[in-house]
Amino acid sequence: MKVDTKQKKFGMAIDLDKCTGCGSCMVACMSENNVPFKKDETNKLDSITWIKVYKVTNDKKYPDTDLCYIPRPCMHCDGQHGHAPCVSVCPAVATDNDKSTGVVSQIYTRCFGCRYCMAACPYHARYFNWWDPVWPEGMEKYLSPNVSPRMRGVVEKCSFCFHRYQLAMDKAYVEGRRELREDEYQTSCTQACPAGAITFGDLNNPKHTVHKMVQPDNKHHGKPKNPKAFRLLERLGTNAKVYYLSDRKWVRKLGDNQTPNEESSKKH
């Protein structure tokens, strides 16, 4: 049996100049992925948001004041040697970096809740289930059967809606194909964004928009060749698969957590 081994590297580019901070991506994500919620979500230490929109400002007084919203899914890091920070600390192989798709998986039934991965993740992209999910009356019937629900005591995070890839592949197999078209596998947040700020696709495929937008340099751990593109905390070497784009210099500098006096050239 010969199986196509062409490696894919699914990734995302988020145009921060388009993002309005409306939060549609967060809503779409929660309903797509059976993310549990509580009546009172004010305590952000125990609420779960696979993608979360952060608000940052340039700290300047009027009229120079400016702000920016940064949606943050899981970055699906490749690391320097093919390991995300969370993957290398997991004692149970509950999280793994799939080399054939570039998606960092989380197997809830394997996880025993030590939360090392949460400590290791520099993006706070991982969340712990302190309780079993409690759905409002009747809502269990509306849960998606394509994403397994989580239980108390395990960590969960964004999966790049990988179930959509599985289902799209099923359709492809039935139609006698082995390759997906770009639009066949898109994450829920990508499709929900009313501003079209999120672009999703295969970073290894030069025909995909996301590749054209960021022009990742695979020889240098995927650093973007597009000068307007950047990754969060690039200097940590997480080699993330989520890129951001902005025309605004302060946003790009902030993305790498640079101190005001630090030269942006330093990071190269």
């Binding site: 039934t109 397994s148 099923d170 197999y173």
Partner: protein, 233 residues
């Protein structure tokens, strides 16, 4: 020459030396030896008896307690129906256009023929009276049902890899009646997943469908066990 050997003999010698201090006179020593012999025999006997007992408990009684037996709501005769339908298995088990697998058939696929009782089979009577006429779906028990966290793709195996149903499901497709469904009382999962043979011996490729069974075939067929997210969701 060998320090290891020396050490090995050293230890018992030491032990013997220590006990030598408390050794009783010659005669008593023999008695003790005899007693020891009896004790030894007893110990071995008890050991074997307990061993056999635990084997019986572990291999026969425990599985009996661990699994409850449930009958399907009605019996179904595959062999009989295969002669009636036009499209073999696909008449009832087909792929939807979106690539998903319809799996166990819904009532809609039966009513064309079964809107009325055709013969005098009690199962057909029960089927028509209790389900067709009341328009209730039959709550079939699914032998091969995996747990929630597993993603399985019939399209990949049946369409892409051109595998036949028998290699994973056995002869259900040609059977004349449905077998008893056995459910694990702890996990609620069908016994077909973990297999009948508690010793782990697999005579047929469909005897068991645990993670390792999937992975073993993937390794053989595709050269790669697959990533976690291939089979999990």
């Amino acid at each position: 020459m060998s320090t290891i050997d020396d050490k090995a003999t050293e230890v018992p010698e030491d032990a013997a030396g220590e006990s030598a201090e408390t050794v009783p006179p010659e005669q008593e020593k023999e008695e003790v030896a005899e007693k020891k012999e009896i004790n030894k025999g007893l110990v071995i006997f008890v050991f074997i008896a307990a061993f056999v007992a635990s084997l019986i408990v572990g291999w026969i009684l425990f599985p009996m307690v661990l699994y409850t037996q449930e009958n399907q709501p009605i019996d179904f005769n595959h062999a009989l129906h295969l002669e009636e339908v036009e499209n073999s298995c696909e008449s009832c088990h087909f792929f939807r256009e979106d690539g998903s697998y319809a799996g166990v058939p819904k009532l809609a696929q039966c009513v064309d023929c079964h809107d009325e009782v055709m013969g005098d089979d009690p199962d057909e009577l029960a089927f028509v009276e209790n389900y067709v006429q009341k328009n209730i779906e039959v709550p079939w028990l699914i032998y091969s049902q995996q747990s929630d966290c597993v993603f399985f793709s019939h399209a990949a195996h049946v369409k892409a890899a051109k595998m036949d149903c028998v290699s994973c499901h056995g002869d259900i497709g040609e059977s004349t009646s449905l077998k008893v469904y056995e459910k694990n009382i702890i996990t609620g999962i069908s016994r077909d997943i973990w297999g009948k043979n508690i010793g782990g011996i697999k005579l047929h490729s469909w005897d068991r469908m645990k993670m390792n069974d999937c992975a073993k075939c993937h390794k053989e067929e595709t050269g790669n066990q697959g990533a976690c997210f291939q089979c999990h969701k």
